[in-house]
């Protein structure tokens, strides 16, 4: 079979994909060209052959397995989403805690610390100094004891 210049168009014509005018021109050509007529006949036979070789249908078991896999993946999606939300929430909690800690630290440092001399100068000295010497303590005890013996009321 010798090739014809219109040969390539036969495939598109067979599929109904040629525009109207081009289609009519080709039909005219096919009536006169045995090569193209045979090409068209072969393409039609090929299509019939492929259509006859019907592919197996899907069994109900396969369909059930498909539904099961889709369901399990959906569940995994939901779990993953929940996991992500919880991770974000935990991260936010940590960030907030750190922020709060830093802010509280800043507030602490903002309070002016009193100097030791200031405390000593301002604080009321109501009690005896804690570091009184042994002689002082003995003297105080004797004074107390004597005042009790004199029966002072």
């Amino acid at each position: 079979m010798t090739a014809c210049e219109h040969n390539r168009k036969i495939s598109a014509y067979h599929d109904g994909e040629l525009p109207g005018e081009e289609c009519r021109d080709l039909e005219e050509h096919i009536r006169e060209c045995s090569t193209c007529a045979q090409e068209l006949e072969q393409l039609r036979s090929l299509s019939r052959l492929l259509a006859a070789a019907e592919m197996p249908g899907m069994s109900s078991d396969v369909l059930e397995r498909l539904h099961s896999s889709v369901s399990s993946v959906r569940e995994v999606f939901v779990l993953r989403t929940a996991e992500r939300v919880m991770t974000v929430a935990a991260a936010l909690l940590v960030v907030c805690a750190v922020w709060f800690w830093q802010t509280a630290g800043a507030l602490d440092s903002g309070i002016e610390r009193l100097e030791d001399w200031e405390i000593a100068a301002v604080w009321p000295q109501t009690e005896a100094p804690a570091e009184a010497s042994a002689e002082e303590m003995l003297a105080q005890w004797m004074v107390l004891d004597l005042s009790q013996e004199n029966g002072s009321d």
């Binding site: 390539r8 495939s11 598109a12 599929d15 994909e17 045979q38 006949e41 072969q42 393409l43 036979s45 090929l46 299509s47 052959l49 492929l50 259509a51 006859a52 070789a53 019907e54 592919m55 197996p56 249908g57 899907m58 396969v62 369909l63 059930e64 397995r65 498909l66 539904h67 896999s69 889709v70 369901s71 993946v73 959906r74 999606f77």
Partner: protein
């Protein structure tokens, strides 16, 4: 099993009148039943397509499963510019191509089997003798198997799925002219391999 049946019945009644696009919207909002309805509507057709692209039922099932899982992952990205059917077929064709690549790296031995199958197809005497439907199917599948993935895609989409050139161009993301030329070359190869059946 009864629970499965009642679940399936509930699915069907709840989304019976919704079109595919509406089902995708509902599935995106979290409706499991809507997505299951999409599976019910398209699985059979996709399985046939996968089988003709791959050649065996077990791998076809895997590819269809991967297709629906891919669709599930891509629900939010689907903008509805193409039909849901075209979208699913596009995912399936990609999954089948990926499957083909992994299989060809795994099984180099199978090339010999294919050559043998092809040789049997080419034998005109044998082809003339095999009149039974099963034989035709096996020979057609063997012939499809010898085509490159690109050529097999266009043949399957056109001849078995009945898609237009424009739809094929959308699914395969190639220009319409490329669809036309691939189809021409694929048919030329097939005619050669199946010449025993042709006038």
């Amino acid at each position: 099993m009864n629970r499965e049946r009642s679940r399936s019945l509930l699915r069907k009644t709840a989304h019976l009148h919704a079109n595919d696009l509406e089902l995708v919207r509902r599935a995106r909002r979290g409706s499991d039943a809507a997505f299951h309805e999409l599976v019910d509507r398209h699985a059979g057709r996709l399985f046939g397509l996968a089988f003709s692209l791959i050649g065996n039922a077990a791998d076809a099932e895997d590819v269809v499963q991967e297709t629906f899982l891919g669709a599930l992952r891509g629900l939010r990205a689907f903008k509805g510019r193409s039909s849901v059917k075209t979208w699913l077929i596009r995912i399936l064709v990609k999954q089948a191509a990926r499957h083909h690549r992994s299989r060809s790296t795994r099984e180099t031995v199978s090339l010999d089997d294919i050559s043998e199958a092809s040789a049997s197809v080419l034998g005109k005497q044998q082809a003339a003798a095999s009149t039974r439907r099963l034989d035709i199917r096996m020979d057609v599948l063997a012939a499809l198997e010898t085509l490159s993935p690109e050529h097999r895609q266009v043949i399957v989409l056109r001849e078995l799925q009945g898609m237009s050139y424009q739809e094929m161009a959308e699914v395969l993301r190639i220009p319409r002219g490329t669809v036309e030329s691939r189809l021409f070359r694929a048919r030329r190869e097939l005619k050669e391999r199946l010449k025993g059946y042709l006038p």
